[in-house]
Amino acid sequence: MEATVALGGNPNSGKTTLFNALTGARQHVGNYPGVTVEKKEGTYAHNGCKMHIVDLPGTYSLTAYSVEERVARDFLVMEKPEVVIDIVDASNLERNLYLTVQLLEMGIPTCIALNMMDVAKSRGLEIDVEKLSALLSVPVAPIIARTGQGKRELMDKAARVAEKKGETTPLVVSYGSDLDQAILQMQREIEERRFLTDIHPSRWIAIKYLEKDEQILAKGRETNLSLATWLERTVEKVSVHLQQTLDTYPEAMIADYRYGHIRSVLKQDVIRETYDKDRVQTSDKIDKVLTNRFLGPIIMLLVLMGLYQFTFTYSEIPLGWFEAFFGWLGDAASAILPDGLLKSLIVSGIIDGVGGVLGFVPLIMFMFLGIALLEDSGYLARVAFMLDRVFMIFGLHGSSVMAYIVSGGIAGGCAVPGVMAARTLRSPRERLATLLTAPFMNCGAKLPVFALLIAAFFAENEALMMFILTLVAWSGALIVAKLLRLTIIRGEATPFVMELPPYRLPTFRGLMIHTWERTWHYIKKAGTVILGISVILWALMTFPGLPDSEVQHFESERDLVEAAASPAVIQEPESADKEAELSADASALKEKLAAINTEEAETALRHSIAGRIGTALESVSYLAGFDWRTNIALVGGFAAKEVVVSTLGTAYSLGEVDPEENESLAQRLASSPNWNPQKAISLIIFTIFYAPCLVTVVCIAKEAGSWKWGAFSMTFNTALAFGLSVLAYQIGSLI
């Protein structure tokens, strides 16, 4: 036999833990169609029965309000799994059963996994499993998902439910005489006209009408407009009546009675508390310190700095390995391949481009590990709690802080994991605003640009300048977030109503799975798209090549220089003894040749499409003080901000510029008549605000669920950056 088993339950009830315990490595992560809600699937073999396990998004209820709830409900209705395993947190029974009751009302074959039995026991809660099962008429299996205890018995029970092939009668909860009467009346009509009854139980449809469930209302209007209108009018009548007599709404009554039903079940000796009820739980004691008015913010600051330190310090070593590996790969490819376009494409286009993306992997992995640690322990929810007041002013959510910090809120992060960190936000509008503004933070790749310009023009005040730039990035991000929330992402704040889960010690396995899943996502998503884009960028900076006459011109210049030197001097650099110092003549020759090479590179760059774009843009960009060289560098920066400094180097005929050692370029800029502090400030501002690098754009598009938002972030940010730079440059030039 084969069966589909869906795992449902409240967030934090241990769904993921059970899913991992059941499926082990046999799992597949994807998305539910059309939305960015993760869908995990796996298989579990049980007594010769192959169970296909699907993890539903964690929800508290089954209304159609949030994406997660809609996804979970649609899956249950459309895919009709043979059985739903409803994971219920035994230490938090009453609230968890709210979802259970809704599942049972839908008539879905259900089996309860009573999880966290260990936690319940340590809190002094004794639960009569048999009685709970009898009162709800559902099989109940106590488990401890963390250790896998009780998993076999659970699957036994689930398999037995599955074998019955959906023969379940929906649970009937009484909603008080007023509503019950209305429900019966509606139910009769619904059954008579077979209104949606092929998919839903009639009583459930009536209840959904009373709850004003938008999805069902819309479906109803499509199916049978006259009946739908009658149902809506009936609901209206009851609503008015309830408001006049009891000052309440049908949906409120329904929730009250559902909880009433749960309480009446629990009261029949299902739960026994052996400890004092008012005993302060450990978690609350920790919270007294960690969310304390004075200590809380200080500890939070230390934790966030710690996360940051951890990520950027420890990822440095593997980051070095990755860099070295791609460097080696590039060198090896250069050595093997014959000179020419193919070599240039493979080395400069593919290896450098893909290496640039994959080079982030260790950083991202450490960042995700840190976040998983904060998330699984329950601390992240506290950070959101403490900071929400500030972020709310700007139309964001307390949880937005994580995305900002990771993106470079403390200068030096990376927007790619930052954008991905926004996943922890459950409010769609706040999440989008966070995604779009997090790239304004000063990520590690923007730092070399700042370092270069500060060294050239503001060398006396380096630390102060860096601090100011951090403030500029934060204010910019928050103000833009507010603007977005007032315009294109307008809408009321999503209710904050959030659970503060008890502190828990994360498990090693859980952390590893969390981290690896997210990292793999990144590799897959960024890797494929970036490959294409790096090739395009390479082509832009390569084609059209210099005309033959020009190439020959440089060729002859080189010949001329070499002819002037003696053969011994020419031989010298190629001699075996690399350690030895070159003679004065030889190094002079080497410099001359290098000068010609870099001049050729500059001319070639200017001649290429990218160069022409840069030159063409000059007519506009002069407003912000940028010449064609800066333009090319900035165009290159679309791919990755790291490219800005190295491209400036090429454009200024400096040849290869190591971003870490850009002193010569800084001196060159400082003494260049083309440059002044106003231009430097203008370029710094542009760099902070303009289009995020392509990997980030790809991530924004994926996370926001549409390429529209990727395109938006590119155009809007660039326009904003240009406006600000022009402003800064023009005002600066006046003073």
Partner: protein
């Protein structure tokens, strides 16, 4: 017995919810989380900037913004 808006409750004060005066998404979220009339709640504390507020009910902790707690009436 005194009726209070939840927003006005002080830290560590307990009470029983008597009414939720809001419909729509906010109302539904509040109720889904178990804040229904008859539920006992205790104010566990407030964030450093006095908003949001953390409540203890039915054995778990919930946070609400002050303007959301505005709609909840409590008997203390």
């Amino acid at each position: 017995m005194r009726r209070l808006i939840m927003r006005q409750m002080t830290d560590n004060q307990s009470g029983t919810i008597s009414a939720i005066k809001v419909s729509g998404e906010l109302g539904r979220r509040i109720r889904d989380m178990g804040l229904v009339p008859g539920t006992e709640v205790m104010i566990q504390g407030r964030a450093p900037l006095y908003d949001p507020v953390a409540l203890r009910l039915k054995g778990f902790t919930l946070t609400l913004r002050n303007n959301e707690a505005e709609h909840i009436e409590v008997e203390v």
